[in-house]
């Protein structure tokens, strides 16, 4: 049979999370279809059709799916489920929202946030905030899976899959979208950035995050923060990297004024290279950092900025 991947998008662009979830689905060994549910989202379906390995794209275009609200998404995915062995979604705030509803309706146990596919029925997933890794085997029957996107590399874009229109049951109208406040930033998104520079309580104020912005602009980096910095009100909550924030795995993670609490490490320790700047040389962040620089960040960050400028970044 076949695997179905639920696309992550904003009705205009297909998110990287989808290509990564397709990569996980390919490892199940079955053909992969992608469902694009949204409103006026044909361009997203066109982008999904280009993902390598995808055999078919299903496009469900309706106002009911514009914000991927969980109640209509559940109805749509459950109505398509009879044709599929496995249904996968990225473990984004959307995927986490609608997928357990699908699992409950299909009467199967969901496997949350897989890190690796060991075999078509066996998966590794983090428990205890990543302090332990569980290997679980699913019983025969349908599988409902969410995928930790930081753990998979996106598939290429060399495909040309056909797009087929589908529709689901009528919107149950249990909930309605009122509004949203999205952080507007020219910088890359935290979960897909190649470089992240994050600040912690050591920055002492929200204004001081401007120091990091200069470096971020030079390196085309995203800006993150520790929970301590978010709780102190320095930056909005969507900056938070950690167990209860975003889990990231960029090529380079630069931690500035972050001590390295377990809950923060859980969100970034899979980064390829970690650099840390902290005035306390005993800070736990140095135990995971490839490169550590001990000293006052208010002196070191401007120095870093000058050096990058000198080198033409």
């Amino acid at each position: 049979m076949t695997s179905l991947v639920i696309a992550e998008h904003d009705n205009r662009t297909l998110k990287d999370a989808t290509a990564k979830t397709v990569a996980a689905a390919m490892q199940l060994g079955a053909p992969v279809h992608v469902l694009v549910a949204g409103h006026d989202c044909r361009t997203v379906a066109d982008a999904a059709a280009k993902l390598s390995g995808v055999e078919k794209v299903l496009l469900a275009d309706s106002a009911a799916y514009a914000k991927l609200l969980p109640e209509p998404m559940e109805q749509l995915i459950v109505s398509l489920a009879p044709s599929y062995d496995a249904i996968l979604a990225p473990a984004t705030s959307n995927g986490k929202n609608y997928m357990p509803r699908v699992a409950a309706r299909l009467d199967v146990a969901q496997i949350s946030e897989i890190l690796a596919v060991e075999s078509p029925d066996t998966f590794r997933r983090p428990i205890y905030a990543g302090n332990a890794i569980e290997t679980v085997q699913a019983p025969p029957g349908k599988k409902v899976i969410t995928v930790r996107i930081a753990a998979f590399r996106p598939v290429e874009e060399t495909g040309a899959a056909p797009i087929e229109n589908v529709s689901g049951p009528a919107d149950p109208q249990l909930s309605s979208f009122v509004g949203e406040e999205l952080s507007k930033s020219e910088r890359p998104e935290l979960t897909s950035a190649k470089i992240i520079i994050s600040g912690g309580r050591g920055l002492q104020s929200g204004e001081n995050f401007h120091l990091l912005e200069k470096i971020a602009d030079r390196l085309h980096a995203a800006i993150g923060a520790s929970r301590a910095a978010v709780d102190a009100g320095f930056v909005p909550n969507d900056y938070q990297v950690g167990q209860t924030g975003k889990v990231v795995a960029p090529d380079l993670y630069i931690a500035v004024g972050i001590s390295g609490a377990i809950q923060h490490l859980a969100g970034m320790k899979d980064s390829k290279v970690i650099a840390a700047i902290n005035k306390d040389e005993e800070a736990p962040i140095f135990q995971v950092a490839d490169f550590g620089l001990v000293g006052d960040l208010f002196r070191l960050i401007p120095e870093l900025d000058q050096e990058l400028a000198r080198l033409g970044y």
Binding site: P70, S93, N97, Y98, P100, R101, V102, A103, A104, R105, D107, V108, A109, Q110, I111, S112, I127, Y128, A129, N131, A132, I133, E134, T135, V136, Q137, A138, P139, P172, L174, S175, V178, G179, E180, E181, S183, T191, I195, R227, N237, D238, T244, L252, K269, K272, V273, I274, A275, I277, Q287, V288, D290, F291, G292, L293, V294, E303, L304, Q306, E307
Partner: protein, 248 residues
Amino acid sequence: MKILVPVKRVIDFNVKVRVKADQTGVDLANVKMAMNPFDEIAVEEALRLREKGKATEVIAVSIGPQAAQETIRTALAMGADRGILVKAEGTVEPLAVAKILKAICDEEKPGLVILGKQAIDDDSNQTGQMLAALLGWPQGTFAHRLELGETSAKVEREIDGGLQTVDLKLPAIITTDLRLNEPRYASLPNIMKAKKKPIAEKTPADYGVDTTPRLKVLKVTEPPKRQAGVKVKTAAELIGKLRDAGVI
């Protein structure tokens, strides 16, 4: 309106977990246990609604071993009115928990069920959403702010990239995120009072639910360890190293 608040007994969040040498799980022997932190936030939110006169009764439910009674007592000491303990040994997966909670909702008919968004042991993040689907109710997950009206609830949710507000028809399911509120500490007089509050004892069989796990845990292992690297002396040296590593 009644509010139902499920609470889970988990390893205290301050305890560093250790994986057992035989890879069968993490070591729970002689480890401090506590209420799942997200569930404390759920209890707090329910209590605030009752204190504002928007709810009449707060019922704490726990599904777990006899010792989970302590977790219910914690909720009662914070101010919940009564408890229901559904005794079950071993792992009870989110789907089975949701089925038991559904049966309790059918009996108690709450207007709202407030749950933690996830338990800090299995990190599944499923139970609230599953319960919502089984009941056919709307959900407001990862709640940052909750405004309860007569027939609907407005929920501001933490989503990737910001905040989203949705309007839910009641009855509804809410799951809590960290910044919804700061849970209170139980005062000594309230801890004493909590001892007299009723806790009903049930079993999954009373609700016709089979709690046999669907997933088979083959092993539990330590995550790969990162090695500490080198210390550099200057900002320029750091940039040199990052260039050598090919990441900038």
